[in-house]
Amino acid sequence: MRIALIALAFLAACGEVWNDPYPASERGQNIYYASFAERPKHLDPVQSYTEDEAIFTQQVYEPLLQYHYLKRPYELIPLTAVEVPKPKVIDGGKLTVYEIRIKPGIRYQPHPAFVEENLALDRRDIDKLKSPYELALGTRELTADDYVYQVKRLAHPRLHSPILGLMSEYIVGLDRFAKSMRQQKAEGWLDLRQFPLEGVERVDAHTLRITLKGSYPQFVYWLAMPFFSPVPWEAEKFFAQPGMAEKNFTLDWWPVGTAAYMLTENNPNSRMVLERNPNFRGEPYPSEGEPGDRAAGLLADAGKTMPFVDKVVFSREKESIPYWNKFLQGYYDSSGIGSDQFDQAVRVSIEGDAAVTPEMEEKGIRLSTSVETSIGYLAFNWEDPLVGGGSERSRKLRQAISIAIDVEEQISIFANGRGIPAQGPIAPGIFGYREGREGINPVVYDWVDGKPVRKSVEAARKLLAEAGYPSGREAKTGRPLVLYLDTVARGPGDKSAFDWYRRQFEKLGVQLEIRATDWNRFQEKIRKGSTQLFRLGWNADYPDPENFLFLLYGPQSRAKSQGENTANYSNREYDALFERMKNMENSPERQRIIDRMVEIVREDAPWVWGLYPKKYSLRHSWLSNDKPNAMARNNMKYQRIDVARREALRAQWNRPVVWPAALLLLVLAVSAIPAWASYRRKERMAARAA
């Protein structure tokens, strides 16, 4: 006991931080500390498609293009390409050619795959390895062949690229190439260089040509995604050696790229570490941004060579409470805000402006907000005989429900105000979205005193009566109208949301039955078209209205063709306009078509336009250049850390408090005294009383 007390006192006197979760060797280093909750499933750029994975892949791989970090609306700029390629229409519009030049002199990160003898390793040597980086490392220059190789990998018989189907529709010869690849051997390295792909050619060492069928202006956005990152053939050959997979050494887990960072520690159970790529060419920090960026200090590093941080450490945090507390202790440099922590972190003024609470302010924590390029909605199944279809009756029923569901209240209660009520399918910041009075949905809102105001429940009831359901009962039979909402049940916490939905329908006298199920059954119902109403969302792949409007395009019907139109909505005029709009450049004409399309779907109301989510993120005072960007995930190279300030504040915030632990030990010691005394008395007793 005495020793424990002395030890506590000694450690307290040292003045050192005790609760630092990182190795002592990392103290004072220029490291960015972040976290991840879900294990990434794939880090191979041909398969990786989720945000959880993009936080790693996009720091390592470099596609041809990237999004400007600061400018809004989102703007494509070259990354490894010399310029953003311009499409060239040939053959009377039947084909579109993109000729892309890449910058010379770009070199890959150090990697064993670039050392020839490492491509024929002995199995016993592989078995001894703890990391592929224990082998001799080499590099080479990035060439156009690496991009060609990667496009071929979309059709690799043992890989699953989510965009193979889509790209096969456009890239000349990719569908045939994919079919021929299916005949290839199942084991070992498949050298894709031997197989030509008609639509993707190497022009010279630094130029590649991609030929598309017809026109697909959105193709350039795909060139900014990891699917179009270079993959060196040597890396595939290296990882295909026998014994590599058993050590978890695969390209799916050990990315090989040209970007600012390289993945040097790969433990998806606990920690992933990115270190500065010593072969990175350097890239200047942007010199332009949107208004307000300069005042916010986001242009202070303009023109300086990136990256600014030497190392990025991602620690796995599965539970929100430890994660949040570690952020408050300064062990994470930035953080999102969970619902449980919202009130502790953010206060919202009467005007609706969000700011950090005094507690956060005292720590110098700052808040950034941004509207995401996403939409959450409640869909009506167009195939359903009651709520679906283009009849007047069903349309009025959908419109009535759209008015009755108070999205503003929903955002306030369930999202802590983190969202904007949606007025249509296109999210803010995307071409085609309209602000202000001309942007409101007139079916649901009126423009009153310079802002949209939801129509009254009386207006909804009137529409419901016109639909043949006065007071929520079928006019002919008097039977109550019962609707069914399919949703995913995640736990007991969902009950309040379900009750809230029931109350919204009760306003109209309509009964709502919630059919809560697991994610698999929910998806299955949507695939089969056996739902009536259901909740879903969409996160944009790229900032183009086509990526939102196609969600309601008839031929994309989920029930009929397994497409992304989950509501199975169908409207001939809308479909015809979509086909015209999708291949157009942004122009007043395109805007006119989009306006008409939005008008059609507002009137038909296949969705209750839910919300555009707002992202709230917090960052410590020592972190600069942090600006939310919904499209780009290659953000680590822009971040700057004031290491000395972080060290000082961490020490100040985490001084060990020893006296309660000492007191606890003392109480335990004192409580043992009566027992000891009693024991001694008992032992000295001469005899027991009869």
Binding site: K41, P162, I163, G165, E319, L328, Y679, E683
Partner: protein, 325 residues
């Protein structure tokens, strides 16, 4: 004894087959191969062809238990169940759905699990037995009454409360330990100290109370009276005679869990960010990774059977009258 061990090992085979059938049936009752494919491939832009390809690559395009289209033994062997089960018995677990080698993961993750589970087990046993003996020593006194009350109060509180409360006090308010995280080697102590203390405290109430009952039962035996009559001190009676004789029921509950310590703790590992086998299992269930779930259930069953066997063997050590035949 060797014959007994061999016989028990042979008994284990049908048990393991049964466990495997139940695991398989339960898993595929909830998840179809299509569900598994969608979970792995995501929900965006997934084509029916991609799902079929994924299933075919993993042999999940076959019938589950009986292949009516096949002939002879292939009716049973050319099925998902047979193909996925047979290699388990050779401890060949294959690859997880994210293509990581399961055996490699188990080898890597069992050490963090053990770093947490072993001290909790050993310290817990020591503290619980000591406290129970103290209560037995002071039976029918105020000390005994308040000790039992403490045990009942502690066993009535959820384990999660100890974890969250411990993290709040020791890590958040007093800054004495990291809230979560893990570094192997010599630094591991700093990360496992708090979860170990919480693990011991969390299991204290129920175990100490049970052991006290066992000790009290033993103390009413004739041999204890004889020992006292011989003039032995109470401490000697307790530690040399009562403890030894009370060990058999204690061993029943204790030895059986020793092999399972490898499997780690599901909740503690998640909350404290310890990358052990407990959190591996939870992750696999959430990700519908059948390969991992099946492997972990299989290993759990094997370890449980080994634990039961060790329990039987340990009886012979503590009680020479017992013979394994």
């Amino acid at each position: 004894m060797l014959a007994y061990i061999v016989r028990r090992a042979l008994y284990a085979i049908p048990i393991l087959v049964g466990v495997n059938i139940i695991t398989f049936a339960l898993f595929f009752l909830v998840n179809t191969p299509d569900d598994m494919a969608r979970m792995q491939l995501g929900t965006k832009r997934v084509t029916p062809e991609a799902i079929e390809k994924w299933k075919a690559e993993r042999g999940l395009d076959k019938p589950l238990f009986v292949n009516r289209g096949a002939v002879g033994w292939e009716k049973l062997t050319d099925t998902v169940f047979f193909q996925k089960s047979i290699r388990l018995f050779a401890f060949d677990f294959g690859f997880a759905e994210d293509q990581r080698d399961i055996a490699n993961e188990i080898r890597t993750r069992m050490w963090p699990s053990l770093a947490l589970a072993l001290p909790v087990f050993a310290l817990g046993l020591l503290v619980n037995i000591t406290f129970a003996m103290i209560l037995a020593f002071f039976r029918a006194t105020y000390l005994d009454f308040w000790g039992v009350t403490l045990c009942v109060a502690m066993m009535s509180v959820s384990g999660l409360f100890y974890i969250i409360g411990g993290q709040y006090l020791f890590s958040k308010v007093w800054h004495l330990f990291p809230i979560s995280g893990f570094i192997g080697g010599g630094s591991a102590g700093k990360f496992v100290f708090l979860p170990v203390v919480i693990g011991v405290v969390g299991g204290f109430g129920a175990s100490a109370r049970l052991y006290r009952t066992l000790f009290l039962e033993e103390m009413s035996r004739d041999y204890v009276r004889t020992a006292r009559a011989k003039g032995l001190g109470e401490a000697v009676v307790l530690f040399r005679h009562v403890l030894r004789n009370a060990l058999i029921p204690i061993l029943t509950g204790v030895v059986v869990v020793i092999p399972s310590l490898f499997l780690g703790s599901l909740i503690s590992e998640s909350f404290f960010g310890i990358p052990g086998l407990g959190s591996y299992t939870i992750d696999a269930i959430q990700a519908q990774d059948f390969a991992v779930v099946r492997a972990m259930v299989f290993i759990g069953s094997v370890l449980y059977i080994v634990g039961l066997l060790l329990t039987d063997i340990s009886y012979t050590v503590v009680d020479p009258r017992i013979r394994l035949e």
